[in-house]
Amino acid sequence: MSDQIVTLENATRSFPVFEGKRIYALRGIDLEVRRNEFLTLLGPSGCGKTTLLQAVSGFIDLEQGRILIEGKDITDVPPHRRPVNTVFQNYALFPHMSVGENTGYALEIAGTPVAERRKRVAEALEMVGLKDMENRRPRQLSGGQQQRVALARAIIARPKLLLLDEPLSALDKNLREAMRIELKTLQSELGISFVFVTHDQEEALTMSDRVAVLNAGQIQQIGTPRAVYDAPATTFVATFVGASNLFEGRREGERVVTPDGIAIRSRSPAANDAAVTALIRPEQFSLTAANDEPSLEIEVDQVVFVGSAFELLGRTAGGRKLTALIPASARGQVGAIEASRRATLYYDPASVHLIAPTEAAQ
């Protein structure tokens, strides 16, 4: 059996904006969703992630390209015939039906006999933590409960793929975090592939087996959360996922030299004299040197206390802005820095990632 559930080939879709101009929501996207994986589409508003989702569920047609489910071309198949179900952003629960009727809707349409339908509805509701709520009406439920009904409704028909369109964005922080764990658990229990859309990178990192970062209709990078975080393929990914300090320049020996004279040492491979961008995440800086690490001197503009750490915002001699994240355990040293308004930031060259030029131009 193939390992891929859904494959998109060269998916392209544009929309007219005005005066004959078109905006490309999807530009030739190739994507594979694997069996039993939790894949997140991450990107800013307008990057095309929702369009991609709607293309897979069938509500948007592709101008070019195909969509395959388990090898079968479903590009021209209407949404109601695709084995894909969606959890909508505003839940879209039918207000004129009860929770039970909402949940069992897909089975009702498929002609499942009433007794079996009732059983499976009860099971689905229990699975999402809403036992015995069949007779309630959607308007009697809280936001979190409504979302669970939407979930139950979408999984009951055992689709090949479940699409979730920013399902947690309307929930408050605590509920959101609880739901993240629940969704992840649900996904592994059910064994259905989830494609999850969000603009929240923390969600993407905590929940996913793989993350696809999108921008302007293209996939910039797709990989495990760690790969995307530690080794971003483009500067866009570097800045969108996590905070970053970027140094664009040329490779000279073991260093990357920027136009304003800063030299960053890096052990990552790159051709000599190639144009590259070095990435140092704020948390990679330390105030103490560990055997002969290189450093950067900065003038500190602001020290922000964020509870578990300190954010140091400062500038190099050449005026380049840097951010460092120092754990709260180093509060003594931070105190001294606050007084002197100067800091020396040490970093480990082995963990300085280099971003290759062609993508770095994004």
Partner: protein, 276 residues
């Protein structure tokens, strides 16, 4: 599969076009056939003429010399005059009273507000005929002579409601924060009303008034019962002519009424929905 969807959508669009055709085609037809020169078979086309219009307006034409259909243009003109007088009067009364009511309900809180809403929606919901005969009984009972005055009063009962509903809707859609801003900048209630609320309200009121005017001119049922024997309005005139037989002149009069209604109603609808 995509073809099926397109066919489905196309059918709906086609149906909608036919729907509007159903509404407007008959009207277009009577306009066309009002120029039909055939005096006997009105719907058999035998040439173009404006004679029916001319005759209705009182000019002698070839056709009218052969027949004495129209008793006299005087009757028609009298009906028209009555309709206009009634419409003008009812419009003024209903607009003033209806607007005052709308403003009162909008601004002030008082006991029995919901009673008022019911009272004001009732004339619109009431079937014309019930209202008509109730007014007839009333007027005869108090000994009033059935004529222009009774018609004006009778029509006002539902026109006040109409204006009220239109102006209320307009008030409800207004931005209350503008009034607050005006007060904040030092204007008292009356000045705020005059300089902020009223100008915004005016297009709605004007539109409502125009529409009330045309509703009054077009009213048949209620006017029918309370007009007595002396007074005829234009719709009643046409109605009586219809009872006696169909003539091409009726067509001409009807088309003129139609054109007039369309023009005034278009203006009214335009003003009513205009954002100042």
């Amino acid at each position: 599969m995509r073809i099926a969807r397109t066919i489905g959508r196309g059918t709906l669009a086609l149906y909608t076009a036919l729907f509007f055709g159903f509404i407007y085609l008959p009207l277009a037809l009577i306009v066309v056939y009002s120029f039909n020169a055939n005096p006997i078979n009105m719907m058999t086309w035998s040439g173009f003429t404006t004679d029916w219009y001319l005759q209705v307006l009182g000019f002698k034409t070839k056709i009218s010399e052969n027949a004495l259909y129209l008793e006299s243009t005087d009757q028609l003109l009298a009906a028209l005059r009555n309709s206009l007088i009634i419409a003008a009067s009812t419009t003024v009364i209903a607009t003033v009273l209806g607007t005052a009511l709308a403003i009162a309900i909008y601004r002030y809180y008082f006991f029995g507000k919901s009673f008022y809403r019911v009272l004001l929606f009732a004339p619109m919901l009431m079937p014309d005929i019930v209202l008509g005969i109730a007014l007839l009984i009333f007027f005869v009972g108090v000994g009033a002579h059935l004529g222009l005055m009774t018609i004006i009063i009778g029509q006002c009962t539902f026109l006040i409601s109409y204006v009220f509903i239109v102006v209320s809707a307009r008030l409800a859609g207004m931005d209350r924060t503008l009034e607050n801003a005006s007060a904040d900048l030092g204007a008292n209630q009356w000045v705020t009303f005059r300089k902020v609320v009223l100008p915004q309200l005016m297009p709605g009121v004007l539109g409502g008034a125009l529409l009330a005017f045309i509703i009054s001119m077009d009213d048949l049922v209620i006017t029918y019962f309370i007009s007595g024997v002396d007074v005829t309005t234009l719709p009643i005139f046409i109605f009586s002519m219809l009872r006696r037989g169909i003539k091409p002149e009726i067509n001409a009069i009807a088309v003129m009424m139609l054109a007039f209604s369309f023009v005034v109603a278009s203006l009214g609808l335009y003003f009513r929905s205009r954002q100042k």
